[in-house]
Amino acid sequence: MSEHIVSVRVYATIFLVLLVGTALTVWAAFLDFPYGLNTIIAMTIAVTKATFVVLYFMHVRYSARLVWVIVGSALLWMAILFAFTFADYLTRNKLSIGF
């Protein structure tokens, strides 16, 4: 697989997307959304920005399958870390035996 050179145009577009994302997240932070949506909106924007950085600035979109597997493994282990910890903490007061 020969090396893919990402064009200046793509880099510039991603840069603009990141700037817009930053402006958007600051603007949205001052609005009072119901149902705790503020955090969800902020995290959606952050994940989107991070995805653009990973795919284009870090060239993952044009990288070998093995790189995809490694990036995916990081996300998988993070998911396990959060899921198991919260499965513990959030259910503690639901047991009557006490801790």
Binding site: M1, V6, Y11, T25, V53, V67, A74
Partner: protein
């Protein structure tokens, strides 16, 4: 050569996975304590300077862009713009650290450094300067600041290491060591720099923006 370059990239990614796990532990601690003390986290967060935080976000995004451009100019074999982009990236990185230092100093004068780390400036903010939302206690606010300093501090350490790596890249690119055929170090250090940028992309909304919508209520 191609295979070597790919192997180097792969190795860097494996290192970055360990870094994700490292920061992941702190993100986990943050999420847990924020779940326990939502009001205190919002109160403490509102005391952070949103302008400085946003400016720093833009500075870091711009530095990621110049880093990406440095990789591009190396790949197409243009040495002068390559050096320029690397220098710009370094300057922006140092700017970020400078702004961070201003923010830290502000926290120091407002006595928001947690615990008794600094003699004569134990944690104890002026209640008039730190508006506590209903249900928040100072002890819980202190917890936010432990996490704030641990996360932004570790992020700053990564920035300092990144600045060192960039200095090495600048010296070697001035010696014309990198060309379209061999440029593993530029690419690999680029990956590291972008990773540090991503950490900040998450830190900024999580630390600075979580309580702003509660201010006028």
């Amino acid at each position: 050569m191609e295979q070597q370059r790919e192997a180097g990239t792969l190795g860097m990614w494996i290192f970055l996975v360990t870094e994700i796990m490292f920061f992941g532990g702190m993100f986990l601690a943050y999420t847990l304590y924020r779940t326990f003390y939502p009001a205190a986290f919002a109160s403490a967060s509102n005391h952070l300077d949103i302008t400085l935080g946003a400016v720093n976000t833009v500075v870091l995004i711009l530095s990621s862009f110049t880093m990406a451009m440095a990789v591009y100019f190396t790949q197409v074999g243009k040495q002068r713009p390559q050096v320029l982009c690397l220098v710009l990236t370094l300057v922006l990185g140092v700017t970020f650290l400078g702004i961070k230092a201003v923010e830290y100093h502000e926290k120091y004068t407002d006595r928001l450094i947690p615990g008794k780390l600094i003699p004569g400036a134990e944690f104890g903010p002026d209640p008039h300067k730190l508006h506590l939302l209903e249900g928040a206690t100072l002890k819980q606010v202190e917890m936010f600041y432990w996490i704030y300093f641990a996360m932004t501090g570790m992020h700053a350490v990564h920035m300092i290491i990144g600045a060192g790596l960039l200095t090495y890249l600048i010296i070697f690119s001035l010696k014309r060591r990198f060309d379209p055929e061999y440029h593993g170090p530029v690419e690999v250090i680029g990956l590291y720099w972008h990773f540090v940028d991503i950490v900040w992309i998450f830190l900024f909304p999580l630390l600075y923006l979580l309580g702003r919508h509660l201010l006028d209520h």
